[in-house]
Amino acid sequence: MTFPESTVAKDRYAMGLADLLEHWPVVRQLRDGDPLGLGPAVQSQRSKTLTPRIDEAEHVVQSICPYCAVGCGQLVYVKDGEITHIEGDPASPVSRGRLCPKGQASRSYAQSPLREYKVKYRRPYGTQWEELSLDDAMEMIAQRIIDTRAANWQDKTDDGKPANRTMAIGNLGGATLDNEENYLIKKLMTGLGIVQVENQARI
């Protein structure tokens, strides 16, 4: 929010002496018992008109910080379908409204200038990324899994013990994901006979 310069000048021009003194912070500091200028005396015309951006939020949802495992509560403020602010949730008995530098910066995590929004595809021996639709990518990945699995299936181990698996596919990651997501991953991979499912618990 900016305060147009020309308006300021015009207002000043129209002011009387009392008004002018009122605009001098030292007067307000002495008059209002704020001699060090640490309180309301320092408020300027501009800062008087400022409102917290959370006031304009259309709704706020309760969330949990995505970084470490302390699990601090977050409040996510939304306007026009965009996150406008994330702050600590005072209701949480875990964190009592506090967030660390990472948690405080998590709006920038969701809105990072480096954030990727489109599928990127690198063909074998390719030298650059190419565009690919999400539908095509899903179709291709599903087919890769089916083909790799069929070509590398073990009914039994080399010494004849039951295996029911493929050792040619692995899935890595889970500690940054939700419980419900981890549940689907393990369930699907078990159904497919993919046993090399791992996550950050070993790092």
Binding site: T148, T176, G191
Partner: protein, 861 residues
């Protein structure tokens, strides 16, 4: 210990600070002086890799001075239990326990058993020779010979020479204050301060807690680090009581959840074991191999069958053994580093990486990046293009010419992911609390949650295979995969999946109130038995957000939901004495109400609500009924906590000081230098180890290397190096060294240093600081070089990857690598670039490999 809580769990640390303000002593034992040390009452600088020596010294202090909590130890731990006479301790076998098989490099654990017990609970029903290992060892399989839940031979006086208490005493008797000082590089006075503070703050009126993080787990003997703390806490009576315990400070939002509902190779939800390739013969044999005759694992079959009903719906039935014969089988180790080896060998063809950055975050990063180039295809899901997605055109190996983009056959799909604000779901935090986060906004363009990705992937695969008659497709076709979706992108309902996890009655679909209602007849389905009840009464329990100021107690039971059964402290029956009375008014928590004949308190009691403290199980009692009224540790087959672990660990029933894989020192206790059972990749050229003393080239790597995190960055950096504020706050990779080492190596503050090992060399800005303290260990000054490990090739702040320096020798129980204590060399200036980097590392290796002798007879590596 093993944690820098103030910097890595800052908001959790507010409680430590509050306790300190109210008079608590806060002690930080750590190699570095960090902000945690600055806030502590006392900092003790310890040599990396020597924590068991330190903690073992505390055990010895407690035992020699008879300062243990006698009543607690006698009734609640296995201190009185008499051990098999064939057991031989490391103290009598120069660093090896009995049962060591040098050919196989592993232990036969038979002799570690309780006297008079079968080692394997149901050995007769298993395949000959099948010895389950580590986390696969079955739950409480050791319960085979327990009669009404009690071990056959006990000495309540704790004086029998083979009782656990006396074994413990002998095992640690050489861990004197002088030994601790010499081995750990600390003063006798500082060590005494820690011992006295712990003892003075434990007992009926007071409790002490340990907080640790991966500074303890990431060692070749990491599990035993935590075990040593557990021994102290049992001796001092600090388990199952408010203000006590051992707190694992975990680093990811749901790393606890992703272990409970695992994306891990060896377990299924609720710590049920994945079936092994060993032939069980039948489903019944599998159950017998895993069910514990006594204790809560006696209900193994109920948990298992309910999971299979959640997985396969009506397709699983008692007639088809709940599809047991079709389930995939695992080997002893199919963990991430095993997969890496297989990938390097060309055996893994496809890899899906979701929300993890192994090119930066895993030890020996170069091996991972080279392995990716052996894949046919790879899927990387993340919010930004992390190094694990860009390695094929932007990596140290591309720079050195070891990889050439146009020669890499790997097909790569980068799939943009949704953030926590763009999806519903629950994280399980480090204290087992399931906390729900609501979706705030829709994900844009191609961004999708993992819930969306895996659900639709499964749906498409099932659709493509639905007519297949191939035996391999039977299981996927029977998988229950029917979830409602919402919104324009057809996002699956996370709450429906939570309900499946929490369990429901098959016929009515009604959510279950808890795990006690699970049945083995197929009438209940439950996706994770320890989470049973998290959707009770049709209410999303993790989404409960009653503010703490509206709740009656500090326990705040109506904020979110803790597994199991919303218990905030597990084994809390131990907060009362054997008769069921609080140990003290001050530490009152859960206790027996004799009039109402029920357990009560400010938390959900972790005990049968109506089992009286004087309950003695009848001889034929099974499962939970076989646990006596004064035995709080109900998951154990004997209801006690284990000072001594007769079964379930790979590397010994008691923690023993071993040196790390790489260390400047020999083991002062034994000729056995390091953990004999540690996993090494000895024959692989991708994981060379720095020489130890006496081997050629030892002098090239004289310093101790340790890695860690910073407040402003998160793990491998994918979630923080992409944020302008954080990139500005911690803008560059750096190494921390002491002024003494800086002088010795000619390093200038703010200048460049090259740190190197047999694996690689990295360059970092130099931070000379007194916070890194040289330590005198056995008369020799040792320096530690500290490296934060967040950096990689890309994003807003880029830098060399500390993990490229690290080897991947592993803890044998959990296959975790040793990042916290390795060795390195350091010199001033930037590292060689491109091909010269490879040549530099090769020249180092040439100097170590030329005449490496067989280990001397007097020292076993």
């Amino acid at each position: 210990m093993g944690s820098n809580m103030a910097e890595n769990h800052p908001v959790g640390f507010q409680w430590v600070m509050e306790a300190r303000e109210r008079g608590a002593k806060v002690i930080h034992v750590d190699p570095r002086f960090t902000r945690t040390s600055a806030m502590a009452t006392k900092w003790v600088g310890i040599r990396p890799g020597s924590d068991i020596a330190f903690l073992g010294g505390v055990v010895n202090y407690i035992l020699q001075n008879e300062l243990y909590f006698r009543e607690y130890v006698e009734h609640y731990t296995n201190a009185p239990v008499i051990i098999d006479e064939a057991y031989v301790d490391t103290e009598d076998a120069d660093g090896l326990f009995s049962g060591w098989d040098p050919e196989q490099g592993q232990y036969d654990v038979t002799t570690w058993s309780y006297e008079g017990m079968e080692t394997h609970g149901a050995a007769g029903q298993r395949e000959e020779g099948y010895s389950p290992k580590g986390e696969q060892s079955g739950h409480g399989g050791h319960g085979g010979g327990l009669k009404h839940g009690e071990p056959p031979s006990e000495d309540p006086e704790l004086t029998h020479p083979r009782c656990v208490f006396q074994i413990l005493k002998r095992h640690y008797q050489r861990y004197t204050p002088e030994f601790v000082a010499e081995t750990c590089g600390v003063s006798v006075e500082d060590f005494a301060y820690v011992c006295e503070a712990l003892v003075q703050n434990s007992g009926r009126e007071r409790t002490s807690a340990f907080c640790y993080a991966v500074g303890w787990t990431q060692h070749t003997v990491g599990v035993q680090y935590i075990r040593t703390a557990a021994i102290i806490q049992q001796l001092l009576g600090n388990m199952g009581r408010p203000g006590g315990g051992i707190m694992a400070l975990r680093g990811h939002a749901s790393i606890q959840g992703s272990t409970d509902i695992p994306t891990l190779y060896n377990i299924l939800p609720g710590y049920l074991p994945m079936p092994h390739t060993e032939n069980y013969g039948s489903f019944d044999n599998f159950v017998q191999a895993n069910v514990a005759p006594t204790g809560w694992w006696g209900n193994f079959e109920e948990y298992w069958v309910s999971l299979m009903c959640a997985y396969f719906g009506p397709e699983a039935s008692s007639e088809n053994d709940w599809l047991f014969d079709h389930l995939p089988r695992i080997d002893d180790d199919n963990s991430v580093y095993w997969t890496l080896e297989q990938m390097l060998d060309g055996k893994v063809r496809g890899y899906i990486v979701a929300g993890e950055n192994p090119a930066v975050g895993n030890a020996n990063g170069k091996a991972h990046r080279l392995a990716f180039a052996n894949l046919d295809w790879m899927v990387v899901r993340d919010v930004v293009e992390i190094e694990s997605a860009s390695w094929w055109y932007d990596s140290p190996e591309i720079e050195s010419g070891e990889l050439k983009t146009e020669e890499i056959p790997t097909e790569i799909f980068f799939m943009p992911a949704a953030t926590h604000t763009e999806k519903d779901g629950s994280f399980t935090n480090t204290q087992r609390l399931l906390q729900w986060h609501w979706q705030a906004v829709e994900p844009k363009q191609d961004c999708r949650s993992e819930l969306w990705f895996y659900f639709h992937l499964g749906r498409m695969i099932k659709s493509k295979l639905k007519d297949s008659q191939e035996p391999r497709d039977l299981l996927i076709n029977k998988l229950h995969w029917d979830y409602p979706t919402h919104s324009a992108i057809r996002e699956p309902s996370a709450e429906t999946i939570l309900k499946e996890i929490g369990g429901y009655e098959v016929e009515s679909g009604e959510p279950l109130p808890g795990y006690k209602k699970l049945k083995s007849d197929g009438s209940t389905a439950c996706g994770c038995w320890i989470y049973a009840g998290c959707y009770q009464n049709g209410i999303n329990q993790p989404a409960r957000k009653k503010p703490h100021w509206e709740q009656d107690t500090h326990v705040a039971p109506e904020w979110a939901w803790a597994w199991p059964a919303n218990r905030r402290i597990i084994y809390n029956r131990a907060s009362a004495d054997p008769e069921g009375n609080p140990w003290s008014e001050r530490k009152k928590y859960v206790y027996w109400n004799g009039e109402q004949e029920t357990w009560e308190g400010i938390d959900t009691p972790d005990f049968d609500e109506t089992k009286p403290p004087d309950y003695v199980p009848p001889d034929d009692a099974k499962g939970p009924d076989a646990i006596a009224g004064d035995h709080p540790f109900i998951m154990q087959s004997d209801g006690r906590s284990w000072l001594y672990v007769p079964q379930g660990l790979e590397d010994g029933p008691l923690p023993t000081h071993y040196e790390p894989q790489e260390s400047p020192f020999d083991n002062p206790l034994y000729s056995q230098r390091a953990n004999p059972r540690r996993q090494q990749h000895k024959d692989a050229d991708w994981d060379p180890y720095n020489p130890i003393e006496g081997e050629p080239g030892f002098e090239l790597f004289p310093h101790v290397l340790t890695t860690y995190r910073l407040t402003e960055h998160h793990t491998a950096g994918g979630m923080t190096r992409s944020i302008p504020y954080l990139a500005e706050l911690q803008p560059a990779f750096f190494c921390e060294v002491s002024p003494e080492l800086a002088e010795e190596a000619g390093l200038e503050n703010g200048g460049w240093a090259t740190v190197y090992t047999s694996r690689s060399a990295v360059e970092a800005r130099v931070l000379v600081t007194r916070r890194m303290k040289p330590q005198t260990v056995r008369g020799r000054v040792t320096h530690t070089v500290g490296l934060p490990y967040h950096w990689g090739q890309r994003l807003l702040t880029a830098g060399d990857t500390a993990n490229d320096l690290l080897h991947a020798a592993l803890d044998p129980n959990v296959h975790i690598m040793e990042t916290k204590a390795q060795t390195c060399g350091i010199r001033a200036g930037r590292r060689p670039r491109g091909k010269a980097l490879t040549e530099f590392v090769e020249s180092l290796r040439a100097q170590t490999e030329k005449t490496r002798p067989e280990p001397e007879e007097t020292r076993k590596t």
